[in-house]
Amino acid sequence: MAKQLLIDAYRGKRTASPPWVPYAGVHCAFLINEPADKMLKDPKLLAKGVVNAAKRYKADGIPLVFDLSVEANSVGCELKWWGDNVPSVTTHPCSNKTPADAGLKLPTKESGRWPVLYEAAKIAKPQLDDLDCVLMGLFCGPLTLASHLAGVRIFTDLYKNPDFAHEVIKFAGEVGAIAAGFYAEMGSEIIAIVDPVASQIKSETFQEFVTPNSQPAIKVIHDAGKTSSFFICGDCTKVMEDVCKIGTHGFAIDEQLNMNFVRDLARKHEVGFGGNLKLTLALSLGLLSPREDAIVSLAAGGHIGYTFAPG
């Protein structure tokens, strides 16, 4: 396990071998025979789950949580909890009001589930340090958070009510910057904006709404001297140039993108990139051989700025 190797790869540098990150998420709970909801609510169990997964998979880095409901919940969205999954957001306070009119306030360390995450990080961080494993901080990106706040209407508001959409997404970007600051304070060496919904829009929309509203968080991460990344998913070929130019040290993608395309793009922009083991077909269902799939990913990824990881 090697922290520096991972940080180098995330920053687009050459590494002797590619580092590896299992984005374990609530799989950490499964590995310690606990339900996901119980683990996510209990700092001791969360720390135990994360450290256990890091050890078991000999990880170079591991996220504290991979749960995009934390930020939404910290500003007032309600959650439905699951034993085998991350919680889902059930209420959308901005479904008919702007964040200001809905009375939404920027989160503090005491908001929502942040106290649990702080406590868990305090326990996990020294143990991960002993393992030479990065504690990663992943938070919800502006468009995905806006879709939690306003619901699906945010997509059509981009056209029908652009002022409203701008207001909600700007607020979401500010919440993200605060979350990034929290993770920096917890000691995360790598902090990533995770915006899956940003894969569902065209390049112009990305540049208008996602790029500017990611800047506050990127500034916080870089001012704290940490490494930044932008996680996107799906077949987002058309916005990949924008992702490369957003200003983070690198990005991560999922199983739907072609690794050769992604590698060439990352090299061109001199940023780090990670992915794209096939989560569904290989790791979950075994319809593809996970071993062969891994070899394909590794062969395409190469040794410059590449992190081996599930998509």
């Binding site: 699951w82 059509t156 981009l158 056209y159 065209k202 929309t205 799906g234 077949d235 070929t237 058309k238």
Partner: protein, 223 residues
């Protein structure tokens, strides 16, 4: 006065370029002028949505654009649907549709639903995060020919297999169709589904094919 062809073009163009007012006006004119509503739906609105599907597949349109088009289409459908003579619509068939338990993703499901709406099916939409047994209950209540389930996550996808078992136990003649990003033809086969469609565009066609296959099978069994 606009001709039928002009109105069809206005409806089609209005859906493709999400011009809501244009769609509403053209639909209302079509009704006022006594043009056949079903033709307006199929060769106007649905023809437009077909182009939208292509644009989406070619990555020229994305989710926001498709949802804008869907909004425009529904405005036209709301005006035209009441004017489709009962004998024409003859409720082609019924479908129970929903996003599986644990899954709140419903954008894709709603597009599939729209295609069934357009095709004149009676749609029973259970919404999202639908408890597994509710698919079974709703099928029994409505006697729908098709149950269509959507899953967007590897974890929730596994619930579909259980629903298939539960439904087939009670009623082997129901055609079950699966869809959603992690689902493939292989997954559908593995879970014992009758059909699978990659996109909303071919969901209805697949539904009809499935019913056809089941009827043939039933006939053979009876012979």
């Amino acid at each position: 006065m606009a001709t039928k062809e002009e109105l069809l073009e206005l409806l089609k163009d209005g859906v493709i370029n999400y011009k809501e007012e244009q769609v509403k006006e053209a639909a209302q004119t079509a009704v006022d002028d006594g043009h056949p509503a079903l033709e307006m739906i199929m060769d106007g609105l649905a023809a437009g949505m077909e182009v939208v599907g292509d644009l989406y597949e070619r990555h020229e349109y994305f989710v926001p654009e498709v949802l804008m088009c869907a909004d425009a289409l529904y405005l036209g459908l709301d005006i035209l649907r009441p004017h489709v003579p009962k004998s024409d619509s003859g409720a082609v068939a019924q479908v129970v549709i929903g996003s599986i338990q644990g899954d709140v993703h419903d954008i894709g499901k709603n597009l599939v639903k729209m295609m069934f709406d357009v095709a004149g099916w009676e749609v029973h939409d259970l919404g999202r995060d639908v408890p597994l047994e509710n698919f079974v209950k709703e099928q029994l209540r409505t006697d729908a020919e098709v149950v269509a389930m959507s899953a967007m996550m590897t974890t929730t996808m596994l619930g579909m297999k259980k629903v298939i078992q539960m439904i087939k136990e009670k009623n082997p003649n129901v055609a079950i169709m699966l869809g959603g990003a992690p689902v493939t033809q292989d997954v559908a086969n593995l879970f014992g589904a009758d059909g699978y469609a990659e996109s909303a565009g071919n969901a209805v066609q697949e539904g009809i094919k499935m019913i056809g296959r089941l009827r043939e099978y039933e006939k053979k069994k009876a012979d």
